[in-house]
């Protein structure tokens, strides 16, 4: 890294070497991308959504390409938190200083128990609470679409989890700032947004939906304007740091989200197009800073001139 450039940021107590993180569900457990990038260089790796019990997820087909994006209906397939702790955690805990676990559930008790178990892991400095997955029948987005739902689950988890608590918000709401404020009031250290937007795709010839679940979550560049708008609105509504995601494909996109108010960003769908995008975006952010004489990245956060 060039001298005299500070790229480190903080999400509450959580220190990131740079603002680039990976979005849950798009980067596996990190190892899937080991051949392509230096995992240690990434600011933070948020691994696949983990639930208390094993989940098989939704039936195939689970994805459809859309203009400048894609729909997914994976449905939180994972082997459960106990398998994570016993089999996965030991193999990934040293890949990066910020391995963060995304936590989901169908019932409050499940969220709390999962968070409690993860609280014991020394190598996990934070969890990201998924109250926004549109692809599960119970839980997930159900909690994230009302202020009461969000308050209930965040308060309960806050009691069970001592470390950095990031709450991932759904854009499928009338006013995301209300949900963000509820999460903040309930003890969230940070909010990340946006999770996927509820969408649909159809096969005109077969006259059938393309996803087994009919609807799914939209991601990719198509959602960027919505994500950017919501990051801007939320960062003005809360005092806790905001993590921005939704269609970020390069360093310039990342800077836009930071100017709009994000302290850090996540790369998700971009990894499918370019498996090396995480390292590339770190370089591109640095190039931007050098070109624009920005010595501390924190000067960019919320620096949008409106």
């Amino acid at each position: 890294m060039a001298k005299n450039i500070n790229m480190s940021v903080k999400l509450g107590e959580l220190a990131l070497e740079n603002p680039v993180m990976t979005a849950s569900g798009t980067f596996g457990y990190g190892t899937e991308f080991a051949d392509f990038v230096d995992l240690n260089r990434i600011g933070g790796i948020i691994v696949k959504g983990t639930t208390l019990h094993h989940r098989e997820g939704n039936p195939y087909p689970r994805m459809a390409e859309t203009p400048s994006g894609m729909l997914n209906a994976v449905g939180l397939q994972n082997k459960g938190v106990h398998y994570f702790v016993d089999q996965i955690y030991p193999t990934i805990k040293d890949l990066n200083r910020n391995i963060i676990v995304n936590v989901s559930g169908s019932a409050i008790e499940d969220y709390v128990e999962t968070a409690r178990i993860l609280n014991e892991l020394e190598g996990i400095p934070a969890i990201e609470l998924n109250i926004s997955c549109p692809n599960v029948k119970q839980g997930g987005m159900t909690f994230g679409v009302t202020t009461d739902g969000a308050s209930e689950v965040v308060s309960a988890v806050r009691k069970a989890y001592d470390k950095t608590l990031i709450v991932k918000l759904s854009p499928n709401v009338t006013d995301i700032t209300e949900i963000a404020k509820a999460a903040e009031a309930s003890g969230a250290d940070s909010v990340s947004l946006i999770n996927t937007l509820l969408g649909m795709a159809v096969d005109a010839e077969k006259r059938k939906p393309l996803l087994s679940t009919v609807t799914g979550g939209l991601s990719g560049p198509a959602v960027k304007p919505i994500a950017l708008r919501m990051v801007w609105q939320v960062s003005k509504a809360v005092n806790i740091p905001v993590v921005g995601l939704g269609g970020i494909m390069n360093g310039r996109d990342a800077i836009e989200f930071m100017l709009a108010g994000a302290t850090a960003i996540q790369l998700g769908t971009a990894n499918f197009i370019d498996p090396m995008v995480t390292n590339r975006v770190i370089d591109e952010i640095q190039d931007y800073m050098i070109r624009n004489n920005v010595s501390d990245i924190n000067d960019l956060i919320g620096a949008l001139e409106v």
Partner: protein, 256 residues
Amino acid sequence: MQKTVLDLTVKSCEMISAQYALLKLTQENSLPEMHAGQFVEVRVDNSSTTFLRRPISINFIDRNDNTLWLLIQVIGDGTRSMSMLQIGDIVNVILPLGNGFSWPKEKSKPILLVGGGVGTAPMLYWGKLLKDKGYEPNFLLGARSKKDLLQLADFSTFGSVYTTTEDGSYGEKGYVTNHSALNEKPWQRVYVCGPKPMMMAVAKEAKRLGVGCEVSLENNMACGVGACLCCVEDTKKGHVCVCTDGPVFDVEKLKW
């Protein structure tokens, strides 16, 4: 095998039939190690309507002129754009992906490679590798009509070629499962790639003959590296990713 992202150069791109293009890619350095049955994820830069990469089987690798061959069936915007690539164009690919075919146990007993439609693609490289290692590959290729049978001359350099066409314009009439060759030799193992109903029918025949069978699946993919969990197939061990635990599966593992 280590995966890598490469910018390859188009050496040639020609339509070899009405619906199929043969794309040959090269680079300065020797192409990396790749196995038959694996695939590559191609980034389509010359289409304004596609977003995700396209997963394409490795059709052949010619180590003499350092080319990677991809057989493209033109179905939609992505494959159409790929079929229109020009000599000298740069194509970004992630490779090699997937698990590839597994080696048979014995060199002395004949192997049957069955392909239907674009499913014949991975069988060409597999046939070469088997022949190079001293096995006896035989090819059973099926298509709708004579004009849809591809690369017959290339296949015949590696082993006997049996063909079927639905309209009887070439080879035996009917489907690959009707071909007399199935009962002709004491097949050691069957490898098959093609439309799902065809693979299921061939797997059934293999079972009837008491012969092991490997199939190559083609599920819709996003990441290609086992991270997104979109391309899953339901197996006896639950949902697994076709891009990493496959695309080749021993049919015994599937819920067919």
